[in-house]
Symmetry: C2
Subunit: 854 residues, 2 copies
Amino acid sequence: MGGQQQHGGTRHSVVFAVNGEKFEVSSVDPSTTLLEFLRYHTRFKSVKLGCGEGGCGACVVLLSKYNPELDQLEDFTISSCLTLLCSVNGCLITTSEGLGNSKTGFHPIHQRFAGFHASQCGFCTPGMCMSLFSALVDAEKTHRPEPPPGLSKLTISEAEKAIAGNLCRCTGYRPIADACKSFAADVDIEDLGINSFWAKGESKEVKISRLPPYKHNGELCRFPLFLKKENSSAMLLDVKGSWHSPISVQELRNVLESVEGSNQISSKLVAGNTGMGYYKEVEHYDKYIDIRYIPELSVIRRDQTGIEIGATVTISKAIEALKEETKEFHSEALMVFKKIAGHMEKIASRFIRNSASVGGNLVMAQRKHFPSDVATVLLGAGAMVNIMTGQKCEKLMLEEFLERPPLDSRSILLSVEIPCWDLTRNVTSETNSVLLFETYRAAPRPLGNALPHLNAAFLAEVSPCKTGDGIRVNNCRLAFGAFGTKHAIRARRVEEFLTGKVLNFGVLYEAIKLLRDSVVPEDGTSIPAYRSSLAVGFLYEFFGSLTEMKNGISRDWLCGYSNNVSLKDSHVQQNHKQFDESKVPTLLSSAEQVVQLSREYYPVGEPITKSGAALQASGEAIYVDDIPSPINCLYGAFIYSTKPLARIKGIEFKSESVPDVVTALLSYKDIPEGGQNIGSKTIFGSEPLFADELTRCAGQPVAFVVADSQKNADRAADVAVVDYEMGNLEPPILSVEEAVDRSSLFEVPSFLYPKPVGDISKGMNEADHRILAAEIKLGSQYYFYMETQTALAVPDEDNCLVVYSSIQCPESAHATIARCLGIPEHNVRVITRRVGGAFGGKAIKAMPVSISHM
Amino acid sequence: MGGQQQHGGTRHSVVFAVNGEKFEVSSVDPSTTLLEFLRYHTRFKSVKLGCGEGGCGACVVLLSKYNPELDQLEDFTISSCLTLLCSVNGCLITTSEGLGNSKTGFHPIHQRFAGFHASQCGFCTPGMCMSLFSALVDAEKTHRPEPPPGLSKLTISEAEKAIAGNLCRCTGYRPIADACKSFAADVDIEDLGINSFWAKGESKEVKISRLPPYKHNGELCRFPLFLKKENSSAMLLDVKGSWHSPISVQELRNVLESVEGSNQISSKLVAGNTGMGYYKEVEHYDKYIDIRYIPELSVIRRDQTGIEIGATVTISKAIEALKEETKEFHSEALMVFKKIAGHMEKIASRFIRNSASVGGNLVMAQRKHFPSDVATVLLGAGAMVNIMTGQKCEKLMLEEFLERPPLDSRSILLSVEIPCWDLTRNVTSETNSVLLFETYRAAPRPLGNALPHLNAAFLAEVSPCKTGDGIRVNNCRLAFGAFGTKHAIRARRVEEFLTGKVLNFGVLYEAIKLLRDSVVPEDGTSIPAYRSSLAVGFLYEFFGSLTEMKNGISRDWLCGYSNNVSLKDSHVQQNHKQFDESKVPTLLSSAEQVVQLSREYYPVGEPITKSGAALQASGEAIYVDDIPSPINCLYGAFIYSTKPLARIKGIEFKSESVPDVVTALLSYKDIPEGGQNIGSKTIFGSEPLFADELTRCAGQPVAFVVADSQKNADRAADVAVVDYEMGNLEPPILSVEEAVDRSSLFEVPSFLYPKPVGDISKGMNEADHRILAAEIKLGSQYYFYMETQTALAVPDEDNCLVVYSSIQCPESAHATIARCLGIPEHNVRVITRRVGGAFGGKAIKAMPVSISHM
């Protein structure tokens, strides 16, 4: 929120600070992300590129914004892989190196991550540290009592939630949670797992004293004076005509009209840019229009009719506003707002919600059928939207907005209005009626960046029958979304059917039958039956216990019921009345870690801190992609086959602007004389580096495009079009069954044949138990290492090469590279330093990556 | 020469080819040299930075220019360290990698340099190869008979001269000359030194057959088609308003006026830019005006009055024009022209003369007192200059031009006119008079880039006395220059004295006395007495043998004498009448290399080719500065003390534009905590890295300035001003004698004390001979390695460092770096790969360079 700043002029360069250090960038491709800038133009490489989608948290940094009017700092985490560089103008960025490092001393966060063995491959650790640090900063801002020495104001519950959305693939999270919880004022020190700080049997006080002490340090992310000055004379950013920050609706209109007038110019409205995590951007835009500085779009306004939330308000800010206790609203309205807020807290991760805007989410839902939670819960709550098209403004029900054709580029979503539900003021409501509101969501994970299989929001006005022997539905809104539908819908037929009915099993059964026809996933949606059944389950959960209620149902009981429902949301059913985050119980069940250490081979077996663990935490550990690239380094990206079995006729680029930056397009034809088209070598034989005339599977590398930057190489690979031909080819074999049918079998290497021991048939016959035949099918699984496959090849004298590779089998890469290039093995040196997760996935599949980088 | 091209428009990017590969540069600092571009923006790092003054030849490349009208290629060597990138627009550059390399196969030049052991440290070798290659290209253009198989059209004499100006500090040149001569059609194979091609005793034919065969290959430096197209639609270069190529005097005037109008804009006229080798450029210019495309300035015109040479004509082209045999001129005039040409061939090196302009040389002489040879010889020959100031043009005698105040920036030297000396047409001359003309030059080296201690040019009209008993000087011009004078002068008083005199020793003695008063080096000139004596010697050489001639001196004898004098110039006195470079005898005296190889330890002792020698020749060998710098690498330059003993009060930068690019200015105050101000460590103790409060000698490092590029760091160091204070300090000790006087002695380490053996006094007394005392003084000497001191430091994890250093003692650097930074030695890794010459100079003095790069 905060007042809009007065803008004093226009500035043409982006000015910001990283760990207190000033950076000024006057010439920048506006699509540059903060991550790209940090990794390629600063020494702060703690910021890791994991998924590039805001889904893993390896790139999390703390962003601090200064409000000169209030002289206040706002600090929150963001995904640097989605945040555009231009949007951090005037901000301070803190990375894990900024917390502490090997030169200035590590931060206790780093030390405790190390001591609790919470960093294995280490690739996720700096992001984890930043998420925890942000939680500590937030806790310090509360008015809670001073924590015991060495600890913080953080609660255990907050400590656990701090890293929600930060993925780790090595540790299983237990040690990370321990490291986080060790900062909590209310930590149960006995609950923490093995670590290198204390010995078994030491007292609680001694144990705490052995932790690297935490002391709130205002110096960290202290806002630099030069940036305060920047902000106090705040100027609008206008970078070489490619980044605009209009400060009024009129200015926005002017910019849009100027773009409209020219069909040469492509433009994009941006607030948090988090949508790019889902909709990978291949397109290049000429103009970016940052709409966060337009008052109408950043408003949060409460009045008796409800809450209006501007389109650019972040989901985090919306949650905060919706949670706010205020006398302005009736308790029923507050209940609805809080439930919406509670649901919104399950959307994506904290670091995404901190930049993602409510409006961006709704527009994606409307234009691109994004499986939005915001749309569903707001639809259930009867929200309205304000739309501007040119000079014209209109207010629509959200439902109508969603059903319209995709919003055109001239139309702007200004804000959303959530009505104030207050049955006492509703003249049409019966005086004894009660408002029920609940939201639902089923997703692969309860928290942390998982899209729902289905979501729902139900609002109902119910009252006890006048006869006192049942509950009547006076009115209801039943919204469902994200189940494989263009947009969130209301189950109108079910609503109509239920309206006026007294709830009983028969009624509910009929309703469910109707519902099955309303919630129908579109063709091609995965697990459709499960999704439909979720809708039924949620509806049953909402109405089920109100069914067949007979005697003595009063309004008071219903109100109690309504409160009770609200608590189902939190994972533990307790009877506290007031929401106090600091008192919410922990997410993790209790656990005890018992490790028996034999003293026989002492000191072997002693828990010691892994060498380099603190460096991993501070982000100073150097992974392949952190090795400074040589000047004029070229970058490559694979083009993969999309057809399992096809002839490759050629490769072209869709976009005309691409070939300029492309230095080479390598395919099997470019294997040097004397070399072989070999991409990996295993005990089962070798695999080709590139598909030759025929592709052998979908996902097989077809070519390797080389460009002046990784971004350009990736983009070129994205817009490459492979021309396939499938005439006269048999259909591809896509399952084991087909392979057996068509006798297409790999030969099993003889060393894998089991040696027969004894007479198997005889043994089987004599056995007490018989073998029963059964069939089990295992789906495929991703290795899912956090660090992507990476290699850096540096040519050296006399046709020698040094290849840095994140590989588990450098010795195989070594031989394979030499064979592929047709050079002696002694000309090749493969160096593996750190591997940011592997799980077998970097044993074989890292080889083609190393080879292609030659 | 060649006609002026028609210019079709303006082009805003520099387009050229390197080894056939296209480069297009649209945004460039116009002060960027070709060397900077090649080394920092291409992979062609064979081009080495040695002296940066055009004085060593390590950066020599072949430049090919296409003339679309004549469909002809001109190929010549240039110093890439002085050539501005913008001036190679439209040209093809060939580097040693372009001749051949480890991937495509080495060129026979590379192979023979390797086989003749002509590459030791290898730093000079690529430049050597290019100079030889250029000579081969020139020879192939002649109409000489086809050479024997495997050899070229080159002559031995040309082969030897090919590398004049390319310095080598390791080999002593013998093996290099052998490698060059091995290509000559007229090679005496027995004259070539040891090599790894043939065995002793093999026949001449077999030996030749064992040489890697040379075959003229038109493919090398074949002009690329795309560049031909560029040239045929030749466009003028105008790079972002900072590089202009006017094509007429009027356009030049316009540009100059626009510059004149603004005192904000600094500008510079450029032709070959070779002057920068002598006058290091600290200044940055806003505009460069390339005047090579203005017809009036690039003219070479002959008429009956003489030869007019445009100011931008290169010295090489001027030599060519002056040497041309033409019926147009009387033999006397031709003699004068050829002598001027012969003298000009001793100026700088071939690769400098190929770009240096006649006008640039004269303007430097006039404005900046450059010790010019051109000015002296033209003054002796009675040349005139054409000057343009605004709309006004005037013709001046060269003498008057030199005596004027420095040419202002509005005035342009257009051309120089050398008169046609033809006494037969001179009505005032006596009919039996003869013209004598001679030029002289004394320099540290006869050929190859050495400024003269003194030069002279004498022209005299003499005739036999009517009495027949002596020679009368009818007229004379005696020009002297470069002896420590503002500009070349005529010894007027001597001229006047001699005019009309019959030559005898008395007359000559008087003339010499007068000359001593005329040729007086300015205060501060080194070896002034030697310089004056040279003037006397040259005058005596010119007139001496004509003195005291008595009987029967005829005009014919004088003409013969005149011819004879002309031959003194060439180093061997033979009686050939016609100049034919291919028949000029070789420069090197005959030599025989006898190496007795013992077979006792066979194969030890066998001459084998050094591993990597061919890589050194092709320029693929990687020296420290060839290691690709990491992205965002910082570059440093030392600021040295100019005072031997002074207090340092502070350091500032003269130029206001500098501090922007300066990242840090490090001095002893920046030694990290726990570290020491230590720069080197020897058996005699350690030396500080930086001067602390007091400087200890002139040349001591005071600070290290760090910037975003080497150029900017060098520039910042150049404009840095150290504020010294010398109050209350004793005078510095500058000689051994002063040190002894003031008892300021270093302690001799005990291990250096000689152990007394026997009774020295007794032995001395009993000895047959007595020791006589004498004093000998040795001046200082430069180590003079070709590769400058270089180090590259790459920070690694956990405060570790990898330092690549061109050092002879990596083990000492290793320890010293650790002590300076206060880190454990195991955190430091020092890697020495190749050392481009050292001679002890990279034992100790490379250490501070390695350390400062931390």
